[in-house]
Each structure stands twice: as structure tokens, then as C-alpha cells.
Symmetry: C2
């Protein structure tokens, strides 16, 4: 019995080592450019032994991606304390940490392609989007979101993805600026929806009521108001 348990542990440890090594390689280059031979060499084992644990590169890629997805979803978790704008800004910092650590792999995944377009990888991407969506609703304290709020939150999640992808392509804007901008974008998209819908207006008011004047939302409002008269 003891030996059996130890053997199963060994298998799982080896699998985890291979997943970690593969994730490291897949993070820094497009998955199409990473070979099983390289993964075997980096793990210090033979190519046939890799195939003993994973039937092919796609299954190893999917396992590495699952690990990365769990990691990213974990970074969305934030204590329900203090102003919402500051909470979202901390999450954005951890999101950009993740994007920074996995840059080329993140780009390859989100831009699609032969090695990354499987149903399993798409389901993993969607699970991370769903985790982000649910975290935001939980922080807003809303369990049954109206259709317009769902639209704002889900479309903002996609805006965060595309902003990160554009940042990775040349890094021409400092990431801290983009982290703050995405917090502002969330407020702006909510405000646009609130301008035409009373239910959204009530949600916006309850969010802004708890924001300090020197938080990201308060600062944006002040700057927008300063911008408006000159625009007239």
C-alpha cells in the first residue's frame, strides 16, 4: 500500500514538473515553436518518457494552460475591503504581472492559431473570462445582474485583454498607466450605460458614493470635468 501511494505521488510529481517546464517554455515562445524534444531536455528526461505522461504536445500544452488559467483566476481574488476603484487597480496590477510573465505565450494564445485553437483551450480562456466577470459582480454586490450590466462587465473584460495584447506589442505605453486607464475605462463604460438607463444609473451612483475623492474614480471625474469646459 505504502509503495503504491509513493509510486502514484512520483507520477504526479513528474507530471507537475513537466507541466511547469512546459509552461515556462510556452510562456516565452509561441507554442508552435516549442518542441517535445526541448521540453524533454529542459526537464532532464527522455522524449519517450514525456510521451509516457502526455500523449502529445497538445495535451501537455493544455495542461500547462490549465495551470496558467488557475494562476490568473487566482490573481483576480481581492479582499472585499475599501473602495472599489482601488481594489480593481490592485487586480489590474496582478493581471499585468501575469501578462508580463507569460507575454509571448499569452499573445500566441489570445491571437489564436493552429496549436492553440482547440475546444479545450477555448473553454479554458472562457473559464478565466467567467472568473473575472463573477469576481466583479461579487465586488459590486450584485447577484442578478441586469443585461446592461452584464454587457458592460463582459465587454470591459475583453477590453482588458485587448489592451494587454496591444501593450505586449511593443510596450510603448508604461504598464502602470494602462492599469489605471483600465480602471477608468470601467467607470467610463459604466457611466455611458448609466447615462441612458436608470437601473445602471443607480448602480453607478452606489459605486461612486463609496469612492474617495483621491481614488482612481474621483481623480478621473475631476480631470474629465477640467477637460469638458475647454472642449466647448
Amino acid at each position: 500500500m505504502t509503495t503504491g501511494v509513493r509510486r502514484r505521488m512520483g507520477v504526479e510529481e513528474r507530471r507537475q514538473q513537466l507541466i511547469a517546464v512546459a509552461l515556462e517554455l510556452f510562456s516565452h515562445r509561441s507554442p508552435d515553436d516549442v518542441s517535445i524534444d526541448e521540453i524533454a531536455a529542459a526537464a532532464g528526461i527522455s522524449r519517450p518518457l514525456v510521451y509516457h505522461y502526455f500523449p502529445g504536445k497538445l495535451s501537455l500544452y493544455e495542461a500547462a494552460l490549465r495551470k496558467a488559467a488557475e494562476d490568473l483566476a487566482g490573481r483576480f481574488v481581492e479582499p472585499h475591503e475599501g473602495p472599489l476603484g482601488a481594489r480593481l487597480l490592485r487586480v489590474m496590477g496582478r493581471f499585468f504581472d501575469f501578462v508580463d510573465e507569460h507575454g509571448p505565450g499569452f499573445s500566441a494564445l489570445m491571437r489564436g492559431g493552429p496549436a492553440v485553437g482547440s475546444s479545450a483551450t477555448n473553454a479554458l480562456i472562457d473559464s478565466v473570462r467567467q472568473a473575472a466577470y463573477e469576481q466583479i459582480l461579487a465586488h459590486l454586490g450584485i447577484t442578478e445582474p441586469p443585461a446592461r450590466l452584464e454587457l458592460v462587465v463582459r465587454s470591459w473584460v475583453s477590453l482588458a485583454e485587448s489592451t494587454a495584447l496591444i501593450w505586449l506589442d511593443g510596450r510603448r505605453i508604461p504598464r502602470t498607466e494602462l492599469e489605471l486607464q483600465l480602471v477608468h475605462d470601467f467607470a467610463a463604460l459604466t457611466a455611458v450605460s448609466a447615462a441612458y438607463d436608470t437601473e445602471m444609473a443607480a448602480i453607478l451612483r452606489s459605486v461612486l458614493a463609496a469612492e474617495p475623492a483621491d481614488g482612481p474614480f474621483g481623480d478621473l471625474m475631476e480631470r474629465l470635468i477640467a477637460l469638458a469646459p475647454q472642449a466647448d
Copy 2:
């Protein structure tokens, strides 16, 4: 010579007929669910004859997608006349017409999957995004966009995509409301960027200066200002 020319015309006509039939089928169901047999039946020809023109379903799918991509990019073209907000609103109307006409196929394509994740399909999607980006810059009259403007325009294009996808999933919000909302979102994202960058502020001011008070931008500003004091 004449016979030769006529034969080539016949081949091209047949190809175009097959592409049109395939696009109709691929628009209304996920490409994974459409068979070559169905395409052959809809075109009134035999299955082997379809393979004579296209080596497989993927090549026919890519040809249909190319036709759809050209169609969509064509709908972005708008005369350089009148206020920018009204121009963008007309383009959004034609964009949602396209999304409406090709709903299930558009969703399947943009959500990815085995039949749609080829390099060629990704390149086509990117070409449409690039066409949208270039049209907007042309309407803004800007040939060398600063990095922050490029970010706003490209990330707004992705916001338009995700808004259309969310709309298709249940159609719970009237599309005319979303067409207007996307025009407002463009103004809002530009304003957020302008609040922290003098170059973007100058671009925003030149856009707003030409907008009438009763256009989509003017109307939004009025409503946001009405919303702001209550939020305090």
C-alpha cells in the same frame, strides 16, 4: 481562344456560386456542423464536383470567409462629410446589419474552434480589424497616430466585436441601443485617455469642436453632466 475564355469564366462562376452557397450555410450554423454534402446539395451539384473546385471544407470555408471579410470591410467605408459621431453611428448600423445577417457563423468564428482556428482565418479577422482601424484614423484625419490613440482605436474595435457577440447571445438589448452605445463608448474611451495626456486631449477637443449639440457626442455629454451632480 474564345472557348478557352468561356471555360475559365465558367470555372470562376461556379466557384463564386459555391462560395455564396457556403457562406449562406456557414453564416447560419457553426462551420463544424456544415458538411460538404449539404453544400453540394444546396448548390445542386455532386460532392466530387465540389472537391474539384475546393480541396476540402477548410479551403471553401476560408473562401467564404474572405468574401464575408471584404463585405464587412466595405461597410466601414463612409463619406468624409458631416459630424464624426453621426458617421460612426451609420457605420455601427451597417456593422450590426452584418452581424445580424451572419449571426451563428460570426459567433463561431470569433469564439474560435477546430474548424475556424487556422492561420488563414486569423489573418482574415486581423485584416478586417486593420480596415476598421484605418478607416477611423482616416476620418480623424490622423496619419501618424500616437501610441495612445492607436490603443484607444484598436481596443475600441475589440470592444465593438465583443459587444456584438454578447448581443448575439440572447439579443436581450435592442441593437439600435448598442449601436449608439458603441459610439458613446468611443468618445468615453478617448476622453479617459485625454484626461491624462495632452496630445490625446488635443485630439478629443478637435473632434468635439465639430460635433453638434444634438449629435450622439453632444447628447452623451449632456446626460453625463446631468448624472454627475447626483452621484456626488
